[in-house]
């Protein structure tokens, strides 16, 4: 069986040489950068806004129990049914239970990374229910039976030609290379689904603890339709999504839009506070909120990396990451890709299986700088490396460092080692990168620095003699 690390390496090797892929990503993210910089510049003080957002999330996460209890009591007071799930399996069972009880025929879903996390669509389909993704990008990747490529731009890796071919094959539409026509094909197909769907499923961007509301950010209007038409509405929400006060949205909505998509604010930011209330003319008869832990409390228990739970899933760290921009979203093999995915996946799915993601990083810090809630991402990558080595190091690596420290702490021995190294280094080029090279993982794709013929110490001594 292939390990996660060998899958990652194989996929990365292949895709970094794919010029077509590279071109698509550069174009898409290039456009994003221009828009994002324009929107950041419109803020009077973007850095102060970031700091305030980080502090609001700090408050929410570091008093998570109180905020969750407030959220839940407010939601329940207006007739929302709240469910708690420690694991993905529990969350799937809760949702399957609701869907079965309602004898649902078709389910319409708006974008939810939590649902990707617990493989909800698979579970629903295996139990015989039709579930349709309504976000255009998600709909496209669902038709291709793929995972989303990016948290915010799920179909960023596809050209309009590929999407047209897909729609021809799956929907029987006429070929077109016009993005607007392609969008209208999806709009028409999905409108039919909306009118007939009996269950709607959404994710959530923020949960206002104080007032008991789920805030959903979107551009297309699909989440609004999902929240308006089906008789039963289910929101699958990670427990870390809470924010303390309603007014905090005045900060988070523009920040999320700016960092995530280079918009001042997204098209629709809707707050759901319950099922249809007396005197209201539409909306679901039943509203269920499923609170998902799925490893989050484990991350919470690590104070050093707890701020990774501040994440608002804007995708800004992916967009600026030199690794993401080279290997793309699917290579990671995780629900959350890019720097934030590399930080949290080891906590959610096991450090030893996923530690390689923390090493697939240049530690350049672009992610930390881009994060609108100031998560210390690149240091967390380093901490994951440290934790992985401390937990289960590799004997050869440990031995190498032991020898190294033995030598460098003994000046006489170090001097000899340098001389020997300098003499024999030319021979290395004959084995560089081959099976005989013990350092081939490093040297196969890199130049090896030349040892200097003269050390600084020797140079200094001679200089003073003159």
């Amino acid at each position: 069986m292939k390990t996660f690390v060998s899958q990652f390496l194989d996929a990365a090797k292949k895709i970094t040489r794919d010029l077509r892929h590279r071109g698509l990503i550069q174009t898409a993210l290039g456009k994003y950068e221009v828009q994002r910089d324009r929107r950041k510049a419109a803020f009077q003080d973007y850095q102060a806004a970031r700091q305030a957002a980080a502090e609001a999330k700090y408050e929410a996460i570091n008093h998570l129990d109180e905020h969750l209890e407030s959220l839940v009591s407010k939601l329940e007071a207006r007739g929302t049914k709240v469910h708690w799930a420690s694991t993905g399996e529990q969350a799937r069972d809760i949702i399957l239970g609701i869907v079965r009880e309602k004898k649902a025929r078709s389910i319409i879903k708006s974008k939810a990374m939590t649902a990707e996390e617990i493989h909800l669509n698979d579970a629903l389909e295996k139990s015989g229910f039709e579930v349709v993704e309504s976000d255009l990008g998600e709909y496209i990747v669902q038709l291709r039976k793929e995972a989303p490529y990016h948290i915010v731009f799920p179909a960023m890796h596809l050209t309009r030609g590929e999407i047209s071919d897909l729609f021809q094959k799956e929907l029987g539409s006429a070929p077109t290379d016009n993005p607007e026509e392609l969008t209208m094909i999806a709009r028409r197909a999905l409108r039919q689904k909306y009118v007939t769907a009996d269950i709607g499923i959404t994710g959530g961007n923020f949960a206002v603890a104080e007032t008991g509301m789920i805030s959903i950010t979107e551009n297309e209007g699909n989440a609004r339709l999902t929240g308006a038409l089906p008789k039963t509405l289910i929101t699958l929400l990670g427990i870390e999504k809470v924010i303390p006060r309603l007014e905090d949205l005045a900060l988070f909505l523009p920040l999320l839009a700016t960092a995530g998509a280079g918009q001042a604010i997204t098209c629709y930011n809707s707050m759901y506070g319950g099922p249809r209330q007396p005197g209201e003319c539409d909306g679901p008869e039943e509203y269920h909120v499923v609170l998902l832990d799925h490893g989050r409390t484990q991350l919470l228990a690590d104070p050093e990396q707890r701020d990774a739970l501040h994440c608002i899933r804007c995708g800004a760290c992916l967009n600026v990451c030199p690794i993401y921009r080279n290997v793309g979203g699917h290579t990671y093999g995780t629900t959350y890709s890019g720097p934030i995915g590399s930080v949290i996946t080891p906590h959610l799915r096991g450090l030893q299986d996923w530690k390689h993601l923390s090493s697939a990083s240049s530690l350049c810090g672009a992610c930390t700088e881009a994060c609108p809630v100031k998560i210390d991402l690149h240091h967390h990558l380093l901490q994951n490396r440290r934790n992985a080595a401390a937990e289960k190091g590799w004997w050869l690596e440990r031995l190498a460092y032991k020898i190294f420290s033995f030598v460098v702490t003994r000046p006489a021995l170090y001097r000899i080692a340098k001389k020997v190294g300098f003499m024999f280094q030319p021979l290395h080029r004959f084995v560089k990168g081959t099976a005989l090279d013990p350092a081939r993982a490093w040297t196969a794709t890199r130049d090896v620095p030349q040892l200097a013929p003269q050390s600084f110490k020797e140079y200094w001594k001679r200089r003073r003699k003159k």
Binding site: L136, L225, E247, G283, L300
Partner: protein, 232 residues
């Protein structure tokens, strides 16, 4: 023990160690006390978010500039009659034959002026009927100059579906409804509804859009392809 208790128990256990405050990484991990709470006030927010002027004219200018950017059709009119006349113009230009609306004094007057077959959402409606309407005509809670947004709730705008299902959303607003910025909008919601919030509230900013195909902007992804704001 219920899952609720188990999850809350794990959270409380985890929070026995405190985390470094934002911007103070490296030194303070693992302290066993919780630092004092510190949250920003809306007044601070105003100094950081994009600026909006203090006068009505500056707010209108900001709303108009955002509208151009977002492709919202925004018209500032001198009187209610002028707004209704503009509405008729919009109806003719777009060839509406059937509209949907909800009952308020203002929207009733607008529907009477248009004299088109009208679906009224108050008291319930069938989704396919609303889907067949050419436009949804609504009032609103407020306009937000900073972002060029329309603030609606189920109570002010005829439910959840009326402003999103028809292909054209037309909003009628009075001048005094124009608020400067997002902090003002959320303060307004709290003041108006704090005791009993509607089950649905939304900040609408421009017509429905997507960039999911090669990051090229397309209007009318799932919601309205057009958004018209008539303010008098």
């Amino acid at each position: 023990m219920s899952e609720r208790e188990k999850i809350l128990g794990r959270i409380r256990e985890a929070l026995r160690l405190s985390a470094p405050r934002p911007g103070e990484h490296g030194d303070h991990a693992g302290h066993d006390h919780m630092p004092a709470r510190k949250l920003s006030a809306p007044a601070d927010l105003r100094r950081w978010l994009p600026s909006v002027g203090d006068t009505f004219e500056q707010r209108v200018a900001a709303f108009a500039a955002q509208s151009t950017d977002l492709r919202t059709e925004f018209h500032l009119l001198d009187s209610r009659d002028a707004a209704l006349a503009k509405l008729k113009e919009v109806a003719q230009a777009n060839g509406w034959t059937r509209i949907a609306s909800h009952r308020t004094e203002l929207t009733d007057a607008a529907c009477a002026a248009l004299a088109l077959p009208t679906l009224v959402t108050d008291g319930g409606y069938a989704a396919p009927d609303l889907e067949r309407c050419d436009a949804g005509l609504t009032a609103c809670d407020a306009l937000i100059a900073q972002t060029g947004s329309v603030l609606i709730t189920t109570r002010s705008a005829g439910g959840r579906g009326l402003s999103v299902l028809p292909p054209h959303h037309v909003v009628l607003a009075r001048r005094e409804q124009l608020l400067p910025d997002l902090p003002a909008a959320f303060a307004f919601l709290r003041e108006k509804y704090g005791a009993n919030y509607p089950s649905f509230m939304s900040v609408i900013t421009g017509p429905s859009r997507t960039g999911d195909i090669e990051r090229i902007l397309v209007l009318g992804a799932h919601g309205p392809k057009k958004l018209t704001v008539l303010c008098y």
